[in-house]
Symmetry: C2
Amino acid sequence: MWQLYHFPLCPFSRKVQLALSEKKVPFSLQLVYPWDAPEGYEQLNPALKTPALHHPERGIKLADSQAICEYFEETESKSPLIPGSAAARAEVRRLVALFDDVLYADVTAPLLHEKMKKRLVLRQSPDSQVLRSTMRLTHEHLDYIDWLIDTRRWLAGAQLSLADFAAAAQLSVIDYLGGIDWADHRQAHGWYRVIKSRPSFAPLLKQKMEGLPAPRHYADVNA
Amino acid sequence: MWQLYHFPLCPFSRKVQLALSEKKVPFSLQLVYPWDAPEGYEQLNPALKTPALHHPERGIKLADSQAICEYFEETESKSPLIPGSAAARAEVRRLVALFDDVLYADVTAPLLHEKMKKRLVLRQSPDSQVLRSTMRLTHEHLDYIDWLIDTRRWLAGAQLSLADFAAAAQLSVIDYLGGIDWADHRQAHGWYRVIKSRPSFAPLLKQKMEGLPAPRHYADVNA
């Protein structure tokens, strides 16, 4: 069976979990903190990041969330997550990169640093100026999602795709860290509630980061 | 014809130029500085980054270097750049992400900030501590490339692939900015000279960033 090396608040591991669950690929979870990775982890992912995926029986090692998702898109025909024409697939991938790179760099990464790493590893207080900046940037990203949902059924077009799961993976971590205010984002909020209600999402809502409790609304699919 | 929006020292635009040239897809270059993008550029790439690719006659807009490369991998059968089995393709994509994300964040991005943006936009001097750190990290990345070339013909395996072009795109920008010392990296240097001698690379060696001359060895394919 596939073993997914992850930690509960890694947005890229969440994206892979969603993709594997949607495609009904069985996997087990292996906890690893990239900042305290056990010896030998670089054999699984030389970048020393999460996620990494290992199939010991078949001797396959995969790393990088997008490389992993593309691998299963090629090997599992069930529930295509990068559907449509070449241009439609390019639009899915453009949005995945927007959420994986820009939303992550603007919001998820600084929030993880301020609210998770400072609390659990560095024993420091969060910087309120950084928190305010992530709040402002979260609104800009939610404005863009509002606009997409105003003009399309799902984020990348008429079909549910990896773009929806990549965005929801980042937003679920931001939400866990108390970084989302849905006021003025009716469309994005409605879309997120639909994604959050999918069976593939349920395990994520139960995963807790030790020492860092989630806000009460986090696991409520109606919130 | 395709129009590629780029600036001369954007490593991701360089990666796309190399991929398009290898696949013999004709394109013209359109200069755009992301920090001073003209009004309307967000229509081509809402992330306001380079590269973006536009085909006005066909009404196709593509953004994000990897989404662009995957698009041409799907639509142009010539010179496959993500070749082989699903596992081999995953290895190409893992390495592309390693160079696009980690090498870029460790070295290319801070060097561009210190040596290009501070000189041309902010009118400040580079921070020597940051320059020393990028030098050290460049050596770590070159050590990894040495190791890959010790065990494989090309970076991702037996075949030339997008991993080679993604790495060379980053390294060519680092080299332009004077950030590479090839001493102790015989294997990586030999591999880079081979890539640098390909016809697809020649246009990159002629592209100059206004106000920021390249070191003399930069365009010498034997250096």
